[in-house]
């Protein structure tokens, strides 16, 4: 039975391959975990740096006391913000920076230089350090958050790949606003807590949102007093770029692995389904229309399960073939084997009749003989197909007039089936075919016998013979029940009958139409059965090629 698969083997394997998608997900989770660890490490490193600077500045309150000399925009802005913050927290207002006096300015500059020197000592390339005094004055600011942007390496291929990967993976940008934004200080909890005496860290976005900055603040102690705070800032860009590198590689590897695996799976599935399809096709055609069996060759020497399946189908077919041969010959053999016991019964009955027997036993003898006669009819039908097959093998072909045979036969049927009118339409001229007239008559016998039997009482059976191109078309039509749909294709096979079994009726072994087909094929023709156009009956058509 052939039907479209809802989901073929290939589609199924492709679906199974989707399980591979769990791999990149696991990879991404791992990378994220790694990133978190790295960030925590960075945070601790920053805090350590801040502590180091703060330690260097401990007990040097004079440095912090000095007013800041640098008066750049960034610093001022930061100071303003710090003050605003202090205000909002209800702390005492700090006076706006007053211009410094000359001496103080000198001292401040010196202090400034010293702080800067200390800061330089610990400063790293990508971090920014500042020192804030208690009054939220930024005393020194050193370093930059930006790092040198590495030029993308590799050729066009890598560039193209990076562009593609860019759709999925964000690369950190070095192009961000470095200024100390309002919100840094406005929400500068780390600074505030450092000025309260507790080291703090904070993660924030740059004002333009392009990158993330981690800052750590540590208090500077002057004895027991807090003199100020050290703030160390760094972007997470190094880690982010590590992460995106890792993700890119993961993406690349996953895609490659996925493509490779998918190609292998699809190739495998294709081959598998091809083999199975071939096996199916062969298995389907292994039994031909006449019920003969062929061997299945597909994959019969393969060592795997499909080879196994193929071999077991072959074995099954072989057993089926044996069974088939057995069945085919059984009818003939059975009728032969039954002849001897029947002869025993018959000769016994006949001897009984010869003996002087009472009247009563004659009745039983008569009944027994009746039964014997019926048994004989069955036996004859059983061996009919076998005998016909033998006859066909030795039959001689001759040219004969099919029209004459049909006319003669129909005349005979009108006597034999007196209850059923038989209407004949046949051309007056001759229609010569090549074959055997006796067999031709036997073919018509079978068709008319069937038609008469299925025809309701009194309804006519039509026998039509006509020339149709290079063929003689013989059609036998009767009114009656339509053909059962599921049997239509098998009507002409051996031992297929559409009749319902009725008690006492003449036996039907499903050989009649099979015999008809054998004869039609012997004549080089074909036979088919169909419902009539009106649907109120059945027509059997036989096409026999005309003799040339």
């Amino acid at each position: 039975m052939k039907r479209r698969f809802a989901l073929g083997l290939r589609a199924q394997l492709a679906l199974v391959a989707l399980a591979l998608l769990a791999l990149p997900w696991a990879g991404v989770s791992f990378v994220n975990e790694l990133e978190r660890t790295l960030l925590a490490g960075q945070e601790r490193a920053l805090l350590a740096t801040a502590r180091a600077v703060a330690t260097a500045l401990h007990d040097r309150p004079q440095l912090l006391a000095a007013a800041p000399a640098r008066d750049d925009a960034v610093r001022r802005e930061a100071e303003l913000e710090l003050q605003r913050l202090a205000e909002s927290e209800g702390r005492m207002l700090v006076a706006a920076p007053v211009p410094l006096e000359r001496a103080a300015e000198l001292a401040a500059r010196k202090a400034q230089a010293e702080i800067t020197a200390i800061l330089r000592g610990v400063q790293r390339t990508e971090s920014r350090l500042w020192v804030v005094n208690r009054r939220y004055q930024v005393l020194a600011l050193e370093g930059s958050l930006r790092r040198a942007t590495p030029a993308p390496e590799g050729g066009m291929l890598r560039t193209a790949w990076l562009r593609v990967a860019g759709w999925v993976i964000d690369r950190p940008s070095e192009d961000f606003a470095e200024s100390v934004p309002d919100d840094v200080l406005a929400a500068g909890r780390d600074i505030a807590s450092a000025l309260q005496g507790t080291p703090g860290t904070r993660t924030r976005r740059t004002p333009d949102g392009r990158t993330v900055v981690i800052s750590a603040a540590h208090p500077i102690w002057d004895g027991n007093e807090i003199a100020g705070a050290v703030v160390v800032e760094e972007t997470t860009n190094p880690i982010a770029s590590l992460r995106s590198d890792a993700l890119e590689r993961l993406l690349l590897l996953t895609l490659a692995a996925f493509a490779g695996t998918a190609a292998i799976l699809i190739g495998f599935a294709t081959r598998l389904s091809q083999r199975i399809r071939r096996l199916r096709d062969e298995a389907e055609s292994a039994i031909d229309a006449r019920g003969r069996l062929a061997r299945v060759a597909a994959g019969s020497d393969a060592g795997d399960e499909i080879g196994d399946l193929s071999r077991s189908i072959s074995a099954m077919l072989e057993r089926l073939a044996q069974h088939h041969v057995y069945l085919e010959s059984m009818a003939g053999r059975l009728s032969h084997e039954l002849r001897t016991p029947i002869a025993v019964v018959r000769s016994s009955l006949e001897n009984l009749k010869l003996a002087a027997t009472p009247e009563e036993s004659r009745t039983y003898v008569a009944r027994a003989e009746e039964g014997l006669a019926r048994l004989n009819t069955i036996l004859q039908r059983m061996s009919e197909a076998t005998r016909l097959e033998q006859a066909l093998r030795t039959a001689e072909r001759e040219r004969y007039d099919l029209a004459a045979v049909v006319r003669g036969c129909v005349a005979g049927y009108r006597i034999a089936y007196a209850a059923t009118p038989i209407v004949l339409e046949a051309p007056a001229r001759t229609l010569e075919v090549s074959g055997s007239p006796d067999l031709g008559a036997q073919l018509l016998d079978k068709l008319v016998e069937n038609a008469v039997e299925f025809s309701p009482a009194g309804q006519a059976v039509n026998v039509r013979l006509q020339e149709q191109g290079r063929y003689a078309l013989l059609a036998v039509q009767n009114k009656g029940p339509a053909l059962p749909a599921q049997m239509r294709a098998r009507l002409f096979e051996s031992m297929v009958s559409v009749r319902e079994t009725r008690a006492g009726a003449a036996p039907h072994l499903g050989l009649g139409l099979y015999v008809a087909r054998l004869i039609a094929e012997f004549h080089g023709g074909a036979i088919e059965a169909a419902d009539t156009a009106a649907g109120d009956g059945v027509v059997v058509r036989v096409h026999l090629p005309l003799a040339r």
């Binding site: 032969h336 001897t340 018959r346 010869l354 004989n376 005998r387 045979v405």
Partner: protein
Amino acid sequence: MSRRIAIVEDDPAIRANYAEALRKHGFEVSAYGARAEALAAMRARLPELAVIDIGLGSDADAGFDLCRELRALSASLPIIFLTARDSDFDVVSGLRLGADDYLTKDVSLPHLLARIAALFRRAELQREPGAQEETLERGDLALDLKRFSIAWRGQPVPLTLTEFWMVHALARHPGHVKSREQLMREANLVVDDGTVTSHVKRIRRKFQGVDSGFEHIDTAYGMGYRWKE
């Protein structure tokens, strides 16, 4: 003196039944179940008629061999095959070996008796040449109703008893169609239509062996056969 018939049949029930029936009809019957036993007995004393089954015990063709051996013993001994095998091939083989008739076990006892009687009559008349003849002539066809022999244009046609009766049935009323059933009845035969067809085919062939232009048995398809003059 009663006539002696030998029955060679491996099935004891059938053998006994036939033997008893024939005895009741006044024949002297000796029945054998195996080929060697039958041959030995018949060599010692030849019966006047033999009824042989083809398959004897495990030997499927023992009857054929026995027929050949009997024919070698006597050219004139009437031999009837009585067997369950009804394929054309077996019929042809049996008749070719020189059997006078070939019957399947469908045959009824009266039919068998008719044949046996006819064969005895024929054998008897062949031994006494010049006996009075009862003949039927239809153009070139001459039937000797006593000897069950047929001549076509003066030449004998070697027909079996069954075939003779069929030709007789057809030729008695030339032009009349005889159905297969009628032919069967006339030939004391109970067989199916197909067998009648092959009998008719064989008859035609035998006539054609004598006269290649023979075309006097006409098939009336669907009805039967008729003798055409």
